[in-house]
C-alpha cells in the first residue's frame, strides 16, 4: 500500500475547518484529520458516521431479555419458592432487569469501542505528527501514485493558502 502522505499542520480549529472546506472544493481528497479535541465540523465534512448507538441498543435489548429469562427460569421453573405470598413472576424483576441492562449495555459498548478502534493496552503507535495530541491539527492527504508533481504543488499551495503553519511529506 502506498503510504506517502502530504500533511498540513494547522494551529487553530477554525482555520482548520475553513481549510477543509477550501481543500475539498478544489477536489483534494482528505484521508484523515488528527486533532487534540473532537471537532464536529470535521465529522460532518468527512461524512463520518458510526453505528455504535445501534450496537448499544442491541446489547441492551439482549441484556434485558437474557436477564428476564434467567430470573423467570430460576424463580418460576427451576426452584419455585414463595416469598411473602408474592407471585413467582413478580414486578420486582424490573429493577434487576433495568440495572443489568445498563450493565450489559455499558460493558459491551466499551468493549466494542476498543475492538472497532483496534485499540488495546500497550499498543504501539507512531503518530504522524505527535503534537496533534497537544496543540496542533493535522490534515493528512494521501499522495497517490497517479498524482503528478503539479498536483502535489497545487495541494501544497492550497495548504499554504488556507493557513497551514507547516507542510510535511512522509514516505
Amino acid at each position: 500500500m502506498n503510504n506517502k502522505n502530504i500533511i498540513g499542520i494547522y494551529d487553530d480549529q477554525d482555520v482548520l475547518l475553513n481549510a477543509l472546506d477550501e481543500l475539498m472544493e478544489n477536489g483534494v481528497k482528505i484521508k484523515d484529520v488528527y486533532s487534540p479535541i473532537p471537532l464536529h465540523g470535521v465529522f460532518e465534512k468527512l461524512h463520518l458516521k458510526t453505528r455504535l448507538p445501534y450496537a448499544t441498543f442491541i446489547y441492551g435489548a439482549i441484556g434485558t431479555i437474557t436477564v428476564f429469562m434467567f430470573l423467570y427460569w430460576t424463580s418460576v421453573v427451576s426452584y419455585p419458592l414463595k416469598f411473602g405470598g408474592k407471585p413467582l413472576n413478580t414486578l420486582s424483576f424490573i429493577i434487576i432487569m433495568f440495572v443489568l441492562t445498563i450493565f450489559v449495555g455499558t460493558f459491551f459498548t466499551f468493549l466494542t469501542y476498543f475492538i472497532r478502534e483496534k485499540m488495546y493496552p500497550g499498543k504501539q503507535v507512531e503518530l504522524p505528527i505527535p503534537e496533534t495530541t497537544n496543540d496542533k491539527f493535522a490534515v493528512i492527504i494521501q499522495r497517490d501514485v497517479t498524482m503528478t508533481e503539479d498536483d502535489v504543488k497545487k495541494v501544497n499551495s492550497l495548504l499554504q493558502k488556507t493557513g497551514a503553519v507547516e507542510i510535511k511529506e512522509t514516505e
Partner: protein, 457 residues
C-alpha cells in the same frame, strides 16, 4: 452557545492549548511534594487501623460491634450510605451537567469521577464486612449450587443493592477511564522519561486522535453517560428501598427514594467542593477551577439544600398527618426531642440551614467560608444517615425491646480505615493522573475564552 459577555470567561489567563497541557501535566512531572508524603503517611496509618478493625471483626465476629438485637444496623450501614452518597456526585457532575450542556463541568468532572470510584470502593467494603463471615460473600451471587439449586430472593432490595452497586462501580470506572485515554496519549507524546512513556503508552491503549477515533470516542462517551444517568438515580433509590420496604417507623415512607437521591447528590457535591478547593490551592489551578466554578457549585448546593429542608419538613408533617402514633413518636419524641436530639439538629442545621448562607454573594466569594460550609455538609449528611438508621431502630413498637446503640472502637476503626482508603486513592489520583480533563478543557477553550474580540466589540 456560550456567551462570554453573559457568563464570563471560563478558563482564565488567556491559555493556549499548549498551556493547558503544560499546566495540567506539570504537577505530575514535579517532584512529589512534601504534603503528599505527609498525607499519604496519615492515610496509610488510617488504612492500617481499618485493617485491624477488619481483622478484629472477622477473627472474633460481628459481636465486636456495638449492635444488638434491636439496633442490628449501625455504623456499617450509615457509612455505607454515606460513601455511596458521596460517590454520586461524580456521575451526577459528568452526566447531568453534560446533558444540560454546562461547559464548566470540564474542569471538575475528572476529579469528581475519581472521587466516585474511591467512594464507591470504600462503600462496597461495608456490606462485605457486615456479613461477619466474609468468606461466604459469594452466596449473594445467583450461581448454580448444590442446595437445590437454591436461588437468591430477587424481591429483596438487599440483592438489588448488590447488583446496583457493582453496576455503578463498573459503569463509573469505564466512563472515567474512557475520558482519560486521550489525556494519557498527550502525556505519552510529551514526556521525556522513558518509563513514563512506556506506562502511559500502555494506559493510552494506542490512542491516535484521528477523526474517526474522535467520532467513536464522543459517541461512546455519550452512550456510556446516557446509560449512567438513570443508573445514578436508580442506585440510590435502591439503597433507600433497603429501608423503605420495611415496616419500621421512620423508614416506611414513599418519600425515601427521591429524598435519598437528592441527599446523595447533595453530599457528593459537598465533597466535590471540598476536594476542588484543596486541588486548586495545591496545584495552583485557579485559572481552571475559577471562583466562578465554585460559585456555580455553591448555587447548586443552595438549591439542593432547600429540597433537603423541604424533605425534612415533609417527613415531620407526614408523621403527624398520617395519624400513626409510632411515626409521630419516632419523629417527635426520638428525633426532634429526646435521646437523639443532638444528631437530629446537627443534621438539620448542617444540611438545611448552613448552606442557605450561600444566598449571600459575599459568602460565596469567600473561599475559606465556602470550604468550611462544604465540610459542614459532609458532616451533616453523615448525621442524616445516623438519624435515619439509629433512631428508628432503637425505639420501635415494643418498649420492652428498646435498646441504645454506641459504636465500638472496631466500628470506628473500620470507618477511619475507609477514610484512609479514600484519601489514599485521591492522593494517587492527584499524583499519577491528569486531575483535569485536558482534552475536554481544550474542546471548550476557544468557545468560552478567546472570544476576546467579541467581548470587546
Amino acid at each position: 452557545m456560550y456567551n462570554t459577555r453573559v457568563r464570563g470567561v471560563l478558563i482564565k489567563g488567556n491559555k493556549s492549548f499548549a498551556d493547558v497541557s503544560r499546566d495540567i501535566i506539570k504537577p505530575m512531572d514535579d517532584k512529589t511534594p512534601m504534603w503528599w508524603w505527609v498525607t499519604a503517611f496519615l492515610a496509610t496509618g488510617a488504612l492500617f487501623w481499618g485493617v485491624w478493625g477488619f481483622y478484629n471483626t472477622i477473627s472474633t465476629g460481628i459481636g465486636e460491634w456495638g449492635l444488638n438485637n434491636n439496633v442490628a444496623w449501625g455504623w456499617a450501614i450509615i457509612n455505607f450510605v454515606w460513601w455511596i452518597g458521596i460517590g454520586h456526585a461524580g456521575t451526577a457532575f459528568s452526566i447531568f451537567l453534560l446533558i444540560l450542556r454546562q461547559k464548566w463541568r470540564t474542569s471538575i468532572n475528572r476529579a469528581a469521577e475519581a472521587m466516585t470510584i474511591f467512594a464507591v470502593m470504600a462503600a462496597g467494603l461495608f456490606p462485605l464486612i457486615h456479613m461477619g463471615r466474609i468468606w461466604d460473600g459469594f452466596f449473594i451471587f445467583p450461581y448454580w449450587n448444590t442446595r437445590g439449586p437454591l436461588w437468591d430472593n430477587f424481591n429483596s432490595p438487599l440483592f438489588w443493592d448488590v447488583v446496583a452497586i457493582s453496576t455503578y462501580l463498573m459503569a463509573s470506572f469505564v466512563f472515567w477511564y474512557m475520558g482519560m485515554i486521550p489525556d494519557f496519549a498527550t502525556i505519552r507524546e510529551r514526556t521525556a522519561s522513558k518509563m513514563k512513556k512506556k506506562i502511559y503508552g500502555i494506559l493510552s491503549f494506542g490512542w491516535i486522535g484521528n477523526a474517526k477515533g474522535w467520532l467513536r470516542f464522543e459517541t461512546a462517551a455519550l452512550l456510556l453517560g446516557g446509560m449512567a444517568a438513570p443508573l445514578v438515580v436508580s442506585v440510590h433509590s435502591i439503597v433507600s428501598m433497603d429501608f423503605s420496604v420495611s415496616v419500621v417507623p421512620g423508614w416506611h415512607t414513599t418519600i425515601f427514594p427521591p429524598y435519598f437521591v437528592i441527599g446523595a447528590i447533595f453530599s457528593g457535591f459537598g465533597m466535590v467542593l471540598t476536594l476542588m478547593i484543596i486541588l486548586r490551592k495545591l496545584y495552583k489551578f485557579k485559572d481552571y477551577v475559577t471562583d466562578g466554578h465554585l460559585d456555580a457549585i455553591a448555587r447548586i448546593l443552595t438549591f439542593i439544600s432547600l429540597i433537603m429542608g423541604t424533605a425534612y419538613l415533609t417527613e415531620l408533617f407526614m408523621a403527624w398527618y398520617s395519624g400513626n402514633e409510632y411515626e409521630l413518636f419516632t419523629f417527635m419524641k426520638n428525633r426532634v426531642t429526646g435521646e437523639y436530639t443532638f444528631a437530629y439538629w446537627t443534621m438539620l442545621t448542617c444540611n438545611a440551614l448552613i448552606p442557605q448562607l450561600f444566598w449571600f454573594k459575599k459568602i460565596r466569594k469567600n473561599i475559606t467560608i465556602v470550604f468550611i460550609i462544604s465540610i459542614f455538609i459532609n458532616i451533616g449528611m453523615w448525621f442524616e444517615r445516623y438519624v435515619i438508621v439509629v433512631t428508628s431502630l432503637s425505639k420501635d413498637f415494643l418498649p420492652s425491646t428498646w435498646a441504645t446503640y454506641e459504636p465500638t472502637i472496631t466500628e470506628i476503626s473500620i470507618f477511619v480505615g475507609t477514610l484512609g482508603l479514600f484519601l489514599l486513592g485521591v492522593l494517587m489520583f492527584f499524583r499519577f493522573v491528569p486531575t483535569i480533563a485536558i482534552s475536554e478543557v481544550k474542546s471548550v477553550l476557544k468557545e468560552t475564552t478567546t472570544l476576546k474580540s467579541f467581548t470587546d466589540e
